[in-house]
Symmetry: D2
């Protein structure tokens, strides 16, 4: 039986100024700081049991280091490793706890240049006692910190000069399910929206404008409860002086969104809500065509997105 | 003691196709039809006791006929009439029930060409029994009809080639209170936001782009409960194929908005929520200057408005 | 490899008066009618692609007929059948389309007397054109019908005189994952909350008060978007004159709820929102003990439930 | 012309332990501390410009000191004073700034034993720079502190052994408008809901159970945005270990509520949303009779209230 990816775990980002990036990701967005090791800070959302869903490392420039995926079983890491070594990939082994809290892992560039990490286990540290929720099935007390703090990592969106090929590799080699896709009038694939967990979209692979564009991360999305929260979060971003790139609703996924960017690094966070669950074992991908969503040329159902900036590896 | 205006009552609109306009105002927006007389249909929102807050008349073109204001006391109509006749205004007397449900009224053009109506009383017809709410302080059963139906008329926005003069006339002659105003970098007044009831903004007077622009209505706003409802209403407008002009939050008034337009007439409705009450008897107008609200050039705090189309008298 | 259950599919209910029950499930709750065959009406929620998530059959009394579960693969039906026949269960085969829209299925009583159905496939009929959403990933236009219509079936709650044994059978024989459980001070298991899909709770198994209580259904839950919607739905139930049993938030699952009951049959619907997703491949069940949730004796975190009525098979 | 009350200003409360009461009113509820003078702390909500809407004084027991009402004009204080002196009331003059931030005022017991204060002006101190909102029409940055912080004081509810007489005195002598009232089956008045500002309910006067009950304060209400916020606030109260007395919706006023109490003093705060505005200059009081609201015996439309505890003067 093939090894499996269970879910999106985390993104590892680099920033030219760790302190300023923390004032975005911690102070403005409301992620909790779990641990600091050397020049790296590990953060998670208030509803997350696992050690981190985002890491920030100070470096000479803003870059994305890797996207971390948790395998279904711990031994799937070695089984994926065997398979990809046979295919000639150059794997880097990450020892247990080399990335704090994380079990043994592999990192490698997928054919289209994105750097993925596959790991099997992650520690679940208790929050500090004064931040612990009184509810056993909640991690942090949601009333104790940031009014707009999102719950959990939801998905990532990457851009690729050959979006279709990239999406097909992820589907075929990692076993993801295609939830939706969008084809332009010329038949080219604009975007593919895939699921590792099969319950919701975990990654969006979008076609770059130019053939020689570098592979890039457009955003990491964190989940909030309702459109009310998107307005509250947008207000908070404005109050923090953080640049925002739109509020509205995607047609694809039906997800309602608000985008904000770390001013120093350009890393973008989507506050996200309202999408559907795919519990259907026989899900047929939603096939969009040009013209199906008519609100402007950025494929939105409500509102729009002002900026296409993205960050490279 | 000077006669007083108590509140915004209604807007009277003309449309080239009554049936199509009803499919916007009734079917899509969710206003209730109270009465039809000849070529005019009278509508109100689900929480309104009074006979109508909007009328639609079939005519050769889309126009605004008048904006109706209810006086504090019925006798204020005659007192306003005396005052404005002395000032040389050309008043038209509207007999009781000539506009259905309405007591004696006057209509006239204010100096800047907008047509106002002042009336003192309005009937409060019961809704049909099967639509009557079980709660005595609610009019229509909110679960019986349109999921996005707003509660009550909130305010109007008018455009004027001399916005400052127009706003000052409304303040000085009708006794409105200035809640907020916005001055451009060159010192010109972009907009003045006034209250008849002193609890909230009832009318926004905005400067036209060009000196020879005609006086116009930009929109009539109806109140909903929360930003959730704005997204729901936007979805409904998209499903109805109705054009929309943006979702977001104004800086001025802090009102959260969604704009939609009647396709046939161009009349625009704002779904509106989230503004504050001014209960302070010593309210000092909020004085905005250029640069105070930085999100683009349309003075929004969140999102933006795509279209400046408006309808003339 | 063992056959698997993929998700909760539907509940089949009996009512002494089909028409009156429809005025609850269709008119008040907002489920859509898909098909009527003889004395049975098949309904689904506005976001559901599959043929039905609830059926209502006129009978001499209110009863629950069966709870339908969809297997991961169509062939899992036969594999489950082989297994349970070997174990001596008395299986009833349901031919394709005998239950409209449904593929081949088996029905049987589990050891604790609950009647389960396992089926592999279900048709996905298009809604009537005038009710079809303009969004390809949405089924019905949400603005076209009932303001409080929930999205999709979420879970069922059953009561059993030996709740622990019943829950363990479901876990061990159907392969469900335990998400949470609650033990009373005397060590007895009050409730077990299990997942078929592993992303969320699909069934709650709760201990009956008395040893000789019959196996029963407490409620079927349908998902809405936010606590706002719970208040709207509660208002709608009051306006429809439908009995309600509480609004609040469970501690277990953190789900926010509003309960309403079909007046004629007593079948109860939970409007449900706010629970979390379990995407963690190494989920450890949340283990509650007496005293962990302090709000009264009905284990609620917010509010309470007034009535423990339930319906038997 | 008669002197007028413009609005509810503040409540002055006494507590046996100031520090513990602050951990309720500031830490849990989210009111901002404006100033501390001797044993008194002055607080306001995040949207309030005026110096305080609540004060807490350490004393030997929990008591209510007075309810403060702002007059329409500063000179109305002296005009009310003349009138009430003529009527034989025993007035206490409060010098300007004797109650910090407040202009000259009078305090006196109304016939039914409630202690009212009438003041004309109140300072509007700027918040600390780091807490100032970037929006000129907002006071505090709402993202900078407590996630559940309400916006502004909304109303008070008092209990009186002769509720009808008390309400009529407030209506006749202070010029309040009756918005709604509720009569029991025996014709006795259970409650009267009055407005000083005429836009909404400012005070509820409710009949005590027993003739010899002392005049009391049941709660002070602060406004939030939506039912979502009520659930969030309830969660926050639970996390803080603060006692709560119910979540739901009143039939009278249609206000949605959540009640919480300061554990040390018993002073109760209502988080409140969803009521309507009365902009109608000819408002006719809503007249409820026994049986109009059927949800239990506490006159609620949704949910209920667990505790009738109240605090005396």
């Amino acid at each position: 039986m093939a090894p499996e990816v269970a879910r999106l775990g985390h993104v590892s980002l680099e920033t030219p100024n760790l302190e300023e990036s923390l004032s975005f990701f911690h102070d403005a967005v409301g992620l909790e700081i779990v641990e600091s090791v050397d020049d790296t800070v590990f953060l998670r959302a208030v509803d997350e049991h696992d050690h981190h869903s985002l890491s920030l490392t100070e470096a000479d420039a803003a870059r994305i280091d890797h996207i971390g995926w948790q395998t279904a079983e711990p031994e799937d890491v070695r089984r994926f490793a065997e398979k990809f070594e046979q295919q000639g990939f150059d794997l880097t082994w990450i020892e247990e706890d080399e990335e704090p809290g994380q079990g043994e892992a592999i990192r490698f560039e997928i054919p289209n240049g994105h750097r993925f990490e596959l790991y099997g286990t992650m520690e679940k540290p208790e929050p500090p006692a004064e931040r612990r929720s009184k509810l056993k099935n909640r991690v942090y007390d949601p009333s104790g910190n940031n009014p707009v703090a999102p719950h959990r990592i939801d998905h990532v969106q990457i851009w690729d000069p050959d979006g279709l090929e990239c999406a097909e590799w992820i589907r075929d080699e990692l076993g993801f399910q295609v939830q939706e896709y969008y084809d332009e009038a010329d038949g080219s694939r604009w975007g593919t929206f895939l699921s590792a967990c099969e319950a919701k979209i975990d990654i969006a692979v979008v076609q770059s404008e130019h053939e020689d564009d570098l592979p890039a991360l457009h955003h990491v999305a964190y989940a909030v409860d309702s459109p009310n929260d998107l307005f509250e979060a947008h207000n908070a971003m404005n109050e923090h002086g953080v640049p925002v790139d739109g509020i509205g609703q995607h047609g694809i996924s039906r997800g309602e969104f608000m985008y904000a960017r770390d001013p120093i690094s350009g890393h973008r966070v989507e506050f996200n809500t309202g999408s559907y669950l795919t519990l259907d074992p026989h899900w047929e991908p939603i096939a969009w065509e040009a013209g199906d969503i008519s609100d402007g040329d950025d494929h939105q159902w409500i509102g729009g997105i002002d900026s296409l900036e993205r960050v490279h590896y």
